[in-house]
Amino acid sequence: MNEQPLLRVNSMTKYYGSRIGCRDVSFELWPGEVLAIVGESGSGKTTLLNNISTRLTPTSGTVEYRMRDGQFRDLYRMGEAERRFLMRTDWGFVHQNPADGLRMTVSAGANVGERLMAIGDRHYGDIRNTATRWLGRVEIDADRVDDQPRDFSGGMRQRLQIARNLVTGPRLVFMDEPTGGLDVSVQARLLDLVRSLVNDLGLSAIVVTHDLAVARLLSHRMMVMKDGYVIEQGLTDRVLDDPREPYTQLLVSSILQV
């Protein structure tokens, strides 16, 4: 049993000039835990995600990450080289738009293999086999390994992006609206895939979404954001089934029932 969290966020605040991006956010993320950050556009959820994942620099606050040696490190006190290494080995980042997370003009195999090559793998055959195996795990046929993602459908691209991120066995994956631009049926397939990968690999994940159904399906715990503040948080089904805050009640009651 893991007695220590993987990530500790303390009083994270981000201002854009005088405007609040997110304000005084603190939480811990535990191994194997999936946290959903929900809220409408402009609520600060993507700002929060980018600040935690070091894609933006917070105005104040700290983010501590438990490295593989068990030591907690403040991400903003790390050297850039170390931080970038962490990002491409122990972390994943799944963008809403796959084109932001993929190299559209190189093959699927090279997209998946890039992280391996970045950490020093130098055996073409092994890299290609690993890439092919990962394509299989995200339900892309092995015979597409040499095709470029620009020839892929939106759902396939998103699955490829996931494979590209997971190939180094990261412990923490950030996802920004991972099902954002997809058709409903494609969404369902992707969600199920993400869910089972997260379960099988014991990943921790922070998922930003405005879609409460996504949050319900993927996350253990959720935080509701409004105007830069976390207004409610707790067990996902508790927040969705017994929302306390006026805004959360509004959100939950706004879900379309099918």
């Binding site: 535990w30 835990e33 369902a188 397939r189 969600l191 199920d192 869910r195 399906l217 253990h220 715990r221 707790g234 067990l235 089904d237 508790r238 089934d241 017994d242 306390r244 805050e245 006026p246 009640q249 509004l250 009651s253």
Partner: protein
């Protein structure tokens, strides 16, 4: 052995912010306990708060006041104040729950839906699936459905998957929210049998059964929820 479930002075209300913040009291001063090997049944008319009580016990609803004490890893834990991670661990290890409706996940086969609580406890996949199939067989779910996702199943079929999922583990405490509502007589009898087996093995069960026959077949005791109706003393 400690009492598996002690509920003490629990109160619950809903504040409806979308309706001008009106407060809807549900229950208050809920006091009862369930012993090992016992099947207690929450009784009273509908709308009295029976389901709400089960949901509070499962951590699904927040609790305004009071304590819900269970034992987890030999430690007494108050679910009313437990953090999400503790609640999840308790669900994995201590409290099983058969809800009224199955929440289906796209593309996951019935047998895997049933096996999942065992997998979560670290039991090997083939063992868990064998156990899942035994239960589905017992509940007369046609074999050709086992490998299909329950999304398209009938209400009764989904409910049997749900029951199998709830009964597959050896959780010391099992919450049952109308598990037999959409079942035929034959399958109701199976559920009664399953409940008896659970009792015999020392599980504490707390249930809601509208079906009179089932209730009298399994209940050791009825807890009258109307006793806990909010504002009763004031009225």
């Amino acid at each position: 052995m400690p009492t598996p479930l002690v509920v003490s002075e629990v109160a619950k209300s809903f504040v409806m912010h979308l309706r001008d913040g009106i407060k809807l009291p549900v229950v208050e001063n809920v006091n009862f306990s369930v012993a090992a090997g016992e099947c207690a049944v929450l009784g009273g008319p509908s709308g009295i708060g029976k389901s709400s009580i089960l949901k509070m016990l499962y951590g699904n609803y927040g609790v305004d006041a009071g304590q819900i004490l269970i034992t987890h890893n030999d430690v007494t834990v108050d679910i009313a104040g437990a953090d999400p991670r503790t609640v999840l661990n308790i669900r994995r290890d201590v409290i099983g729950y058969v809800s009224q409706f199955l929440r289906t996940v796209p593309r996951v086969a019935a047998v895997d839906v049933v096996a999942e609580p065992l997998l979560a406890r670290g039991i090997k996949s083939d063992v868990a699936r064998t156990r899942a199939i035994e239960l589905l067989e017992k509940l007369n779910l046609p074999e050709h459905l086992w490998q299909l996702p329950p999304t398209t199943f009938s209400g009764g079929e989904q409910q049997r998957v749900n029951i199998a999922r709830g009964f597959i583990t050896n959780h010391p405490l099992l919450l049952l929210d109308e598990p037999t509502a959409s079942l035929d007589a034959e399958n109701r009898a199976v559920v009664v049998q399953l409940i008896r087996e659970k009792k015999a093995s020392g599980t504490a069960l707390l249930g809601i059964f509208h079906d009179q026959d089932v209730r009298s077949a399994v209940a050791d005791r009825i807890i009258d929820v109307s006793m806990f109706r909010a504002g009763r003393e004031a009225a």
